[in-house]
Symmetry: C2
Subunit: 433 residues, 2 copies
């Protein structure tokens, strides 16, 4: 796949990288990966998981039965690499970024003690690390089955113990197919992620080339009771909150090689965040009380970190989010199927792409569907292209217009706040901030 | 001011109601309004306030000196009703919705114990109510100086004691010019505002016709250290969080006459919130896991409560927020000058309106600048119009085009998610939810 002198490549298959998939063992099968000292606690955990399934079945029986019977084979791919590759093939997906917790419906394929998407809820640091390491040991083996295709995201509960976190990151550094770590979504009583407390963690991730992630799941559960609507409405905040804690505290200036991705909380909110933050930093004289206080916190405008240090694992984007791609970050947004969860596009990804990307240029589509993820995770584009040549849908398959081009000033125009507030657009020169 | 058969009134002066102003005594002057039992604690508080000013002067001397000298007379209007009316006149503002804490720069005009914008930080319920009641006693007198013009928002720390909160609301109910209460922005360790725990408070406010408010100020201070940029970025969330806790828990179905306004955290976020919430409730079959769980929580779509039960005190709107008025709520958005704070449009409101409303129809401008607030606070439109006849800028003063009309389908078009998700637009019929 390559662009020609006459324009972008509009015929080769898309190299699709799903920036959001999940894998994990059925919970009891994590036993051999665990340290012996936590096995009693593990038995309690497994019993609790089965009770959790029983309760889920009580309230949502019909949906669970249909989902699990219609997708019985595909769901096995949550932990069976051969089945998984067949599912990815059928869905047109060449590469994938793998998070824990394969079963989002009844929570059976969950790392010990909830060390996956709910790691922040664990109070005992011994259990937090035992659960994370059990999953990581398994994940290393799992990714080794196809390290070109798989970018595994290991679990590191950095809030619980900095020394152990750094040791785990160093252990992960040279494992084939391990491309990132997921940290607890919320810091609870521990220092916030804007604190220098975590600098050794960020340094280790920068050195190891591992992308740091928060992934949606946890939220302020005490505030919701049984009101799922409030949870759904709030959970993005708790997930993307880490983005600005890292960015606005200058973390990416102290660690310029550090990359962070926020996953499965959409991307609709990005543009307004950048507008507000760019104005605070780039036109702060408008905020008369603040100008002295924000000066010098960052070396670039907040929006300039997006696509270099900050990436958005936007999962199965809505059409509105696709329309907002130039304001939100055409070089940062990453499609994801959420396989094997029911919220995403699996097993109908090509159908979904055909319906939603029809009015998008091929070059933009290439970025959103794969190239941004390849860049973020430093994946093997050549290896992935070989897979894509076999299974990837082409622009013609998605009924796209090969002559549609992205205007060169698309980002400039979409980010309207530069002109409106008189902030020099990056690369166009201008004064000191 | 009235529309004619041939179209809207495009010549009368605007009835401007600032939905966000502040008033309060210099802190030591609250002494005579306090219960005797808290006077020792009050002396400590006053000393702390003066130390606060000293520290503010240490870090931001230049701005403070300029602000206070250039606006010396106008700032006295923070507690002097005659000066205040002159300032409102000069700014073209007929009516105002008054919150506590007149001094946003060095915090001198702050109700005892921080019972104003930071009430949630008070841990002792005795002090919380003592401070609130001292301010309320003063505010009742202050609003009585001109009850047509002033809509006072009293302080009620509902988290600390439901019985005392209800008693205070009942005491406030018949006071001329008192139109609402402000509750602590954050509930901290108390039950969230989505809990039935507060139903007696909402019932009392409904009966008294008092609008419930959260106003920006408090946030998760422990998470910011001295990083003001993170605070500025997060504070809207902590302010508008109450909106969906009330709305999505069915509070406005249990109390259909209850009105709530969220103040000084902008309005840019409203459209996306409504998109997401309307889809969850109106097209929840798309969220396969959730459909059973959200059904029946509300009797209308979330966006339908905006403009009847939910109002947005958007303060000095940015031009982008003015452009988004039809998606965010043309019948809910309320301009505010933030007088006498430096963040707002005072003392240059007419200048600001002239620059920002040029492309807005007169009918939309009338709503945003005043009529929505008159509706929300049940203010005396006739009385306000008399004041406006003397001081209000006309559409011609704002260089507006009198022939510009709002298309009848402006809201329908702006709220794109109805068509995109196949949700019947309110009033156009359609199936059961």
């Amino acid at each position: 796949m390559s662009d020609t002198a006459s324009g972008p490549d509009t015929t080769s298959p898309y190299v699709i990288v799903s920036s959001d998939t999940h894998a994990g063992l059925p919970c009891e099968e994590y036993r051999p990966y665990l340290d012996p000292g936590v096995l009693d606690a593990f038995d309690d955990y497994v019993a609790e998981r089965h009770e959790h399934r029983r309760l889920a079945e009580e309230t949502n029986a019909e949906f669970i039965a249909r989902w699990e019977s219609e997708n019985a084979e595909g769901l096995r791919g949550g932990h069976d690499p051969e089945v998984r590759d067949k599912e990815l093939d059928a869905d047109g997906v060449a590469g994938e970024v793998i998070f824990a917790d394969a079963d989002a419906v009844t929570g059976q394929e969950s790392p010990p003690f909830g060390a996956g998407l709910h790691a922040g809820q664990i109070t005992d640091p011994v259990l937090a690390f035992a659960g994370a390491r059990a999953h990581n040991r398994w994940l290393v083996d799992f990714c080794a089955t196809n390290p070109v295709r798989r970018a595994g995201v290991a679990l590191v509960p950095i809030t619980h113990d900095i020394d152990r976190a750094v040791a785990e990151i160093e252990w992960l550094a040279d494992k084939p197919g391990i491309r990132g770590i997921m940290i607890p979504t919320m810091w609870h009583g521990f220092p916030p992620y804007s604190s220098r407390h975590y600098d050794r963690v960020w340094a280790a991730c920068q050195d190891a080339g591992l992308v740091v992630h928060t992934h949606s799941g946890e939220a302020d559960f005490d505030a919701y009771g049984d009101n799922i609507a409030i949870y759904v409405n709030e959970v993005p905040f708790w997930t993307y909150r880490t983005l600005w804690h890292l960015l606005l505290s200058g973390t990416f200036d102290r660690f310029p090689g550090l990359r962070y991705a926020v996953v499965e909380c959409g991307s609709w909110w990005v543009g307004d965040l950048l507008w507000k933050a760019d104005v605070n930093f780039g036109a702060s004289y408008k905020i008369k009380k603040l100008s002295a206080k924000v000066k010098g916190l960052l070396s670039r405008l907040p929006s300039e970190y997006v696509g270099t240090n900050v990436f958005i694992g936007a999962s199965t984007m809505s059409r509105e989010e696709i329309r907002r791609r130039h304001v939100n970050g055409i070089d940062a947004l990453m499609w994801g199927t959420d396989y094997p969860h029911p919220e995403g596009s699996w097993p109908h990804t090509v159908e979904r792409l055909t319906s939603d990307f029809r009015d998008v240029s091929v070059e933009d589509t290439r970025r959103l569907l794969g190239l941004n993820a390849v860049e973020c995770y430093r994946m093997d584009l050549e290896g992935l292209s070989e897979i894509a040549a076999r299974i990837g849908p082409t622009p013609a398959d998605l009924h796209q217009d090969p002559d549609l081009r992205t205007p060169p000033d698309a980002v400039r125009k979409a980010r309207w706040w530069f002109d409106e507030y008189g902030i020099p657009f990056p690369g166009e020169g201008g004064g000191e901030r």
